[in-house]
Structures are given as structure tokens and as C-alpha cells.
Symmetry: C2
Subunit: 139 residues, 2 copies
């Protein structure tokens, strides 16, 4: 179990339920969405109260970009997907988090967005662990 390293930061309960920790990056915790329909990673900057990217300090914005793009590149390598989808929405979970999702032309929502599409399908534990290990190895 990973712990919040930054004083005052605690993970949103919805993110805690729907995703599992992978590793710490410099600014963000990297998590995997527990939904086997898509290879789907989430970066959560460890900044208490942050909701909008543009409200973070400029250095944090640069770090977030660096970490997001590093993760996107790794996910592309691991999945050989057609397209990476990157987004910071936050309409439901207000705590700042960035989605990085691998999309394929035969995936269940293609070419539409994944958010709000049907019901989450959790991985088997072993399957999730294996995916997380592949991502870690590619980073």
C-alpha cells in the first residue's frame, strides 16, 4: 500500500475505489483505472486542493506535462494502441487528475470518449498486477 507523501494530501474516495496505485512519479501518483475495457492510467498530482491545471504553480504545470507525456509514451509502447487520449475533466471527481487512455478501433467506445460509457469492468487481481508491471517496466 502506498501512502501520501505530501503533508495534507489525501486521495479522493472515488479515485481510491476505482483505481489502484502503480508507482510514484516526481509530482504525481500514477494509478491504473480498474477497468479492463481500456488500458487506462491516471496521474494524480500530490497537491492538496488542486482542481485546475492552470491554478498550479508554473513549475508544477511543467512537471505534470513531463510526467503525463512520459506515461503516454510508455502506454503507447506497452499497448501499441491506435491513439492516446489525454484529458483533465474533473466534472465528477473534483480533485485534479489526468487520464491517459490507450484507444483502439475495436474498443467498446471507439471513436467516442470512454467517460460515462457503460459500467466499469474490474480486472482480475493478477491481470491488473501484470498490466501495472508492464507499465512500470516501460517507464
Amino acid at each position: 500500500m502506498l501512502h501520501g507523501l505530501k503533508a495534507g494530501f489525501s486521495l479522493d474516495a472515488g479515485l481510491e475505489t476505482d483505481s489502484e496505485p502503480v508507482m510514484w512519479l516526481g509530482l504525481c501518483e500514477l494509478r491504473v483505472m480498474n477497468d479492463r475495457r481500456w488500458p487506462w492510467l491516471i496521474l494524480v498530482p500530490q497537491r492538496p486542493g488542486a482542481e485546475e491545471i492552470h491554478d498550479m504553480a508554473p513549475l508544477d504545470q511543467a512537471m505534470l506535462t513531463f510526467e503525463t507525456n512520459m506515461v503516454a509514451q510508455a502506454l503507447k509502447r506497452v499497448t501499441d494502441c491506435t491513439k492516446i487520449n489525454t484529458a483533465a475533466l474533473g466534472n465528477i471527481v473534483r480533485q485534479l487528475h489526468v487520464h491517459v487512455i490507450a484507444r483502439r478501433e475495436d474498443d467498446p467506445a471507439w471513436p467516442g470518449p470512454v467517460w460515462g460509457h457503460g459500467a466499469r469492468e474490474p480486472y482480475r487481481a493478477e491481470e491488473l498486477r501484470r498490466f501495472a508491471e508492464m507499465v512500470k517496466a516501460a517507464l
Copy 2:
């Protein structure tokens, strides 16, 4: 009418049809999606062939972050929205472009994503021009 300043760059036909030019930033052309249901801006980096953010040069990635966040902040000021949605999807239009959308709890798709939601509702010309001017003034 604005022109492509970078040799070899031409705007995707779908983006050309669905959105209107606002101004040039350093790296990107800023455009407004011609859909009055949401205040919706699009940044198009003037890099021929670019499809994924992580495939751009590191300096371009940093510039894109800077311009995106500047635009997001301006759009928030102009609209006083509940939440900014920022995304690079590209499942349909493959040319790299970043969406910056102002969301409100009473908007037609809230809290779901806007992409693929119903049919685009074009502005009246004067209404679009006024919105573009407000964004420009806030930048």
C-alpha cells in the same frame, strides 16, 4: 482570414469546417468550436504531421502546456464556469489539437463529456465574433 505561417502545415478539413480562427499564439492557432452549447476553444499546434503530444519536441510540449493553461485561465475568467475540461483525443480528427471547454452544471451534457453529445449548434456570426473578442481580450 488567417493563414498557416508554418511551411507544410495545413489545417484538417474537419477542424476547418467545425471551428473558426481566433488568433495565433506562439505555437498554436487558437480556434473557437462553432457550437454554442459550450464555450469551447481548440488549440492547433502548427506542426505538420503531429498526432500525439508526446511525439512533439520537448520544447513544443512545454509551449503547448503554457498556451493551453493560458487559454484555460482566460476561458475560466470569461465564462466563470464550474470546471474547465482539457483534452487531446484525436480519435476522429487525427491532426493534433487540444480542447479547452468551459463546463457548467446546467450545460446539456453535464457531468458527461461533450464529445459525441447530440448535434453541433452553430452560433450566429455576430455571437461567435463577440465570444472570440472576449477571449482575445482576456488573453
